[in-house]
């Protein structure tokens, strides 16, 4: 990779803030050495945003942690230098500093701050927000408590937390996810850092909140003239905020440059494939999503050493990406009717007191799903979409309402009234794909039992028949039959979700509810899963109820969409209508907040 020319910063002719050369961070595990960061060269400049783009496992987080020297055991920096230029012009090599040295501690927090993906776990749960900020300020600056408090309130105000004096006394759990991330940023800013490292700062947040946080970071960068290193897997985020981009793959930086040249004229095949596979809101709907692994020449993904910058994309596969044909559905042939469904959760109340109020997770929800279509339910976290899916399946009991399930050969059932044995029967024809393939597969069971469990229960097959059936299912889901006796721990995220899909299809269901089934996956794997789901839909005449917060997924896979907001369906329409002509103000807001993977279409800010 040494051939990639160093990017010359047109706007600042000063030396970079941080200069990384030949950095190698490796993990010495019992299964061998893992090269997490492999020979990385990188410059970070002040008053510029550098985005590190890469899939999970590409080593981007470890690289960022190496700068602050907070790589967990058994990881170690084995080679390379990290030259940091401090405010007075001196240069220190952070990679050579001893662990816990005075200098390192001063640099952390005072000069370089970091914010993490999950603010809840990075904030102390039992200390008030304000107190945590005051502590950080007083650790690095010689100020009185009162001054520190005033500064903390000012910071909270600056990061856009309303009523900061009041929130100073709040505990982290009293704040929403977005507020917590703001508080985290306030803390990171408390010592006026010269470089802010943000590790997936918005991945755990809703789109609307994400847009606000990104705006805030950009504003603060401008205001304080600091360098920002933003780590993300989201092309949209990069296009929205980056000035410089570095693309990481398998521990190496495969491409770097300013955002326009990378997006408009990518050189490396991996970057090209990544750009081609990014889901977009605009443009035509495509029949199949382009899949990085199909775009790249065979053998590339498995052996990163093969990734030479002058390889070509598989042209014919790009051409195959044809627009989708519009589907039509018979509106008389309904498979699911949800009528006035309510799910209420009581709040408050203990052993001796009645609950004081209810949260209406689902409030008078009614809709129909037609046979053969893909029905999408979109909403932010907390909008009640997961409660809705669970109430439909009767995983949790709805407060009132009807859920009628019309099957081909069996009588119609009202799930809200069904008894245990009826439910078991229904659950064979209505299956679920879970969000997190890691937690929905019991790590202690083998694949044959995980996938075959429902088959065994439904048809009480012998071991040999079961093996044959599960093998078929694995092949359908794009897995190998050799995987039968493995534990789920041996699979990657994408393969695990394939297992989840195989398991959902085991009993030949008519309706599949996919609850954020692709949200936890990398973009490239997401594309594979969506393609797989579509192929299976065509093959087995499936109906999907697709629950997601990701509008680009909706855009791609759904035929009709219901937008949920605070427990209610605020808009229900066809997909094309939704994107072309959103009616409800919330839908408009949601659509506007989605970052567009094109730096030329940046929102004015």
């Amino acid at each position: 990779m040494q051939q990639i020319p160093m990017h010359n910063n047109p706007q600042s002719d000063t030396a970079p803030l941080v200069k990384i050369r030949g950095l190698k961070t490796q993990f010495f595990t019992e299964d061998g050495i893992v090269k997490a960061v492999d020979d990385v060269d990188l410059d970070i400049h002040s008053n510029r945003t550098l985005c590190i783009l890469g899939e999970s496992g590409s080593g981007k987080s470890i690289m960022a942690r190496s700068i602050l020297r907070i790589v967990d055991n058994p990881g170690r920096i084995v080679e390379g230098s990290i030259h940091y230029r401090s405010a007075d012009g001196r240069e220190v090599d952070l990679a050579k500093e001893r662990h816990g040295s005075r200098l390192l501690r001063d640099v952390r927090g005072q000069d370089i701050s970091m914010i993490f993906q999950e603010p809840m776990s990075s904030l102390g749960p039992i200390t008030k927000i304000g107190q945590q900020i005051v502590e950080t300020i007083r650790l690095h600056r010689n100020v009185t408590k009162a001054e520190a408090k005033a500064e903390a309130i000012h910071l909270l105000d600056r990061v856009g937390i309303p009523r900061p004096a009041e929130r100073f006394e709040a505990y982290p759990f009293e704040l929403s996810g977005g507020m917590r991330q703001r508080a985290m940023i306030a803390m990171a800013l408390s010592c006026q850092p010269r470089l802010l490292i943000a590790d997936e700062p918005t991945t755990a947040l809703d789109v609307t909140t994400q847009a606000q946080i990104l705006d805030l970071i950009a504003e603060l960068k401008q205001e304080r003239q600091m360098g920002v290193m933003l780590i993300t897997h989201d092309m949209g985020v990069v296009a929205e905020v980056a000035e410089d981009v570095a693309v990481m793959y398998s521990g190496k930086i495969v491409e770097r440059g300013d955002v326009y040249s990378v997006f408009e004229n990518p050189k490396h095949p991996y970057t090209k494939a990544l750009l081609a596979s990014a889901p977009r809101l605009g443009g035509i709907r495509r029949r199949r999503l382009p899949d990085i692994r199909e775009l790249l020449p065979p053998g590339y993904m498995n052996n990163p050493a093969n990734l030479s910058p002058d390889a070509r994309l598989e042209g014919h596969k790009v051409a195959e990406i044809a627009p989708a044909e519009p589907k039509t559905h018979n509106e008389e042939d309904r498979i699911l009717e949800v009528k006035n469904l309510n799910v209420h959760f009581p709040i408050g109340g203990g052993v001796f007191s009645k609950s004081t109020d209810v949260v209406k997770a689902c409030d008078e929800i009614s809709f129909d799903v037609y046979r053969g279509e893909t029905f999408g339910i979109v909403g932010e976290s907390g909008s009640g979409k997961t409660s809705l899916s669970r109430a439909i399946m009767r995983i949790l009991d709805p407060t009132s309402g009807e859920v009628l399930f019309h099957r081909k050969a069996k009588p119609t059932v009202d799930l809200t009234q069904a008894n245990k044995s009826e439910l078991r029967d229904v659950w064979r024809d209505m299956r679920m794909v879970f969000q997190d393939p890691q937690s929905s597969l019991n790590p202690r069971l083998r694949v044959i039992d995980l996938v075959g469990q429902c088959l065994q229960k439904a048809e009480s097959l012998g071991r040999r028949d079961l093996q044959a059936r599960v093998s078929d299912l694995l092949v359908q889901a794009g897995l190998k039959t050799e995987f039968l006796l493995r534990y789920p721990g041996a699979f990657s995220g994408g393969q695990r979700q394939r297992l989840g899909i195989a398991r959902a299809l085991a009993t030949n269901p008519e309706l599949v509810i996919a609850d954020e089934a692709v949200s936890a996956l990398d973009v490239s794997i997401q594309a594979q899963m969506l393609n797989l789901l579509q192929d299976l839909q065509d093959e087995f005449d499936l109906t999907y109820l697709f629950i997601t917060h990701d509008l680009s997924v909706v855009k791609h896979i759904c035929d009709r969409v219901a937008v949920m907001y605070q427990g209610k369906i605020v808009e229900l329409t066809t997909r094309d209508e939704l994107f072309a002509n959103p009616k409800h103000p919330y839908t408009k807001k949601l659509l506007a907040a989605v970052p567009n993977p094109d730096p030329r279409m940046r929102k004015a800010s």
């Binding site: 999970s56 995983i395 041996a490 393969q495």
Partner: protein, 379 residues
């Protein structure tokens, strides 16, 4: 760190690596815990002693002898001098002569240099049943002449061999831990499981019951229960009732732990998925939930065994647990209850004392090691 290493693997490698099963991972982690590994060997050894018992006993633990009351421990020697002055190797003990010390008005024992008792391995001795099945009179170690007596750890007030009694008492003391823990396990898992899986009223009732039991001071409760055991019951039945009494308390902490695990597992996606697969509650509990926390249960059971052993010991020490002639470490300690025997025959205290400390410590270290190994978040 396992998470990180997994994430660092190429995103969608076609060949999944062969990954060790959960138990193999626990074992790999456990092996690194040196102290726990060492304790594992000690515990293994102690249970071996418990199983073989009489075979390892030097003498008949029940044989009394007036001439040897409170005899101090005899040393073992390796070399003997022949008549012609040459030194030969022979494992032996020196005989002890009882003398009456008129000044102190008590009996003292002095080593009798002339009386040499040859010792050997696999010697004939008193009759017993090996593992309760095979008739045998061979002993691992003892005087070559079955009529000789050797007291390596000294003798008690009836002239019985302490070493043999400690060895034979191992069985009762160590097994009462196991049996007690087994009883707690059954009660704890069932009640804790009901409490955690169903929640609501059942949970409330069981938790209040546990709180009630735990709020009662242990020793008076045991005393009250033990006082109800008729004195004329056969030793075996007493033994059984004592284990039940001991586990009356033991199950409560286990039940709480199981409940906690059930509560956290109940909302796991894979449990919901299993429900959707049509499994019944019982199948979900047995196939999905219990295997997920069995390693934790094993660890907490290992930590519960020493508590049981201590409970039995304290009961027997107070004279309300096992009754003589049953030999256990607790009943042996009871012999060392008065000041006189501690001053005159301290071996009555330290022989069973060391055995108890050794067993309890090694079980605790073993349990700690298991717990650390079973916890995926521990470093």
């Amino acid at each position: 760190m396992t998470d990180t290493t997994q994430n660092l693997a190429p995103a969608d490698a076609p060949e999944a690596p062969v990954v060790l099963g959960p138990w193999a991972l626990i074992w790999r982690k456990f092996r690194k815990h040196k102290l726990a590994m060492f304790s594992l060997y000690i515990v293994g050894l102690i249970y071996l002693v418990a199983a073989l018992g009489e075979f390892l006993a030097v003498q008949d633990p029940h044989k009394t002898s007036v001439r040897h009351t409170f005899q101090p421990p005899q040393g073992l020697h390796l070399f003997v001098k022949d008549e012609d002055g040459s030194t030969n190797f022979m494992l032996h003990a020196k005989g002890m002569k009882m003398e009456l010390n008129t000044e102190l008005r008590r009996r003292t024992f002095v080593e009798d240099e002339s009386k040499i008792i040859p010792m050997g391995f696999f010697v004939k001795g008193h009759e017993y049943k090996l593992l309760g099945l095979v008739d045998s009179s061979t002993h691992f170690f003892g005087p070559k002449n079955p009529r000789d007596t050797v007291f390596i750890f000294g003798a008690d007030r009836l002239g019985r061999d302490i070493l043999s009694r400690v060895v034979v008492g191992t069985r009762v003391s160590m097994s009462i831990g196991l049996v007690g823990v087994a009883v707690s396990l059954v009660i704890g898992v069932i009640l804790g499981g009901i409490s955690g899986y169903y929640g609501g009223l059942a949970d409330n009732l069981i938790q209040r019951l546990i709180e009630f039991i735990r709020s009662v001071p242990t020793i008076p409760l045991w005393m009250g229960l033990a006082a109800a055991i008729p004195l004329d019951w056969p030793p075996l039945r007493t033994y059984f009732v004592v284990t039940v009494i001991v586990s009356m308390i033991g199950w409560t902490s286990l039940a709480r732990e199981v409940r906690g695990k059930f509560l956290s597992l109940r909302n796991e996606d894979f449990i919901t998925a299993a429900r959707l697969d049509g499994l019944s509650d019982w199948e979900i509990i047995m196939k999905h939930m219990v295997p997920s926390f069995s390693s934790h249960i094993i660890a907490s059971l290992t930590l519960a065994v020493p508590l049981m052993i201590l409970a039995e010991t304290s009961l027997s020490f107070l004279g309300i647990g096992l009754q003589p002639p049953q030999v256990s470490w607790g009943t042996l300690l009871k012999e060392a209850q008065n000041i006189r025997s501690i001053i005159e025959a301290p071996w009555l205290l330290w022989s069973p004392g060391v055995a108890i400390v050794l067993a309890v410590l090694s079980l605790n270290f073993l349990g700690d090691g298991l717990r650390d190994a079973a916890d995926p978040h521990a470093q």
